[in-house]
């Protein structure tokens, strides 16, 4: 590799997208290599299952391949791809279940309120690792809203739009999801 090649500035995602839309396979491959980890990480967080996340990552890039010509550079490519990934996962959830199953029933009381012990030494450790474990056990509806809001940083009005629900429902689902996670983390700590 020559010095000139080493110093060659990296092409922007937008330039690669334009080339890929014109049929340049190498440009599409470069986009895949740049972004597949980000897409896989997001699908894994939303789906909680590595095999399903891998399949979904493929689906997202197939979708990207078909729709790359629609990217006009009005937003960051990563933002556009992120949204496409979220939509693809939500579509998958909708296909798998009825809408009522996508959200945890409002009338249900799935969250047992576990009060604090008041003794910090008896508090379970709530960190990234315990949260990841608990997240895998969370019902799909709760996990979806929790991941979109608390992990990915979407606002309630955006989540409401994506899921076709009221903003208040998104807030309520998020709160129940957090309480359920807390309960799961405490149960795991108590079983040790």
């Amino acid at each position: 590799m020559t010095v000139a090649e080493v110093e060659k500035p990296q092409e922007s995602d937008f330039d690669l997208a334009k080339k890929a839309a014109a049929g340049d396979g190498k440009a599409f491959e470069e986009l895949y290599r740049r972004h597949y980890r980000r897409v896989y990480a997001l699908t894994l967080r939303m789906m909680g299952n590595p095999t399903e996340a891998e399949d979904m990552t493929q689906e997202v890039f197939l979708q990207l391949f078909n729709k790359i010509g629609m990217f006009r550079g009005e937003s960051q490519f990563t933002t556009w791809l992120h949204r496409m990934t979220v939509n693809q996962v939500l579509m998958h959830f909708r296909k798998k279940s009825t809408r009522s199953e996508l959200l945890t029933d409002e009338g249900e009381t799935p969250v047992q309120i576990v009060k604090g012990t008041g003794n910090p030494s008896k508090m379970p450790v709530i960190d990234r690792i315990s949260l990841e474990r608990a997240l895998k056990q969370l019902p799909t509806g709760y996990r979806t809203v929790f991941v979109l809001h608390d992990v990915e940083g979407y606002e309630h009005y955006e989540i409401a739009g994506m899921l076709g629900i009221a903003e208040g429902t998104s807030k309520s689902q998020l709160h129940k999801a957090r309480l359920k996670l807390r309960q799961l983390i405490r149960q795991e700590a108590a079983s040790k």
């Binding site: 980890r37 967080r45 309120i113 008041g118 960190d127 990234r128 929790f146 990915e152």
Partner: protein, 78 residues
Amino acid sequence: MDCARSIELLSEYSAGSLGEDDSIFVMMHLSGCVDCNGVLQDLKLIVQAAAALRSENGIAYPDEEVLWQRLSARRIVH
């Protein structure tokens, strides 16, 4: 009874999005309730831990090349 109502409002209290009446109610309740304070602290820790999950570190990624080959094969079929 007050604890149940307080706990129901804790996420929004923490986000600062409660109306004035509810906010004062929770604040007053928390000033005398160790249990609800414990729940609030846990919820804050969960929100903090969730933000840390956004990082793409610590994930066992599928093999880049294998995934690309599978994707390429499916693109051809499509």
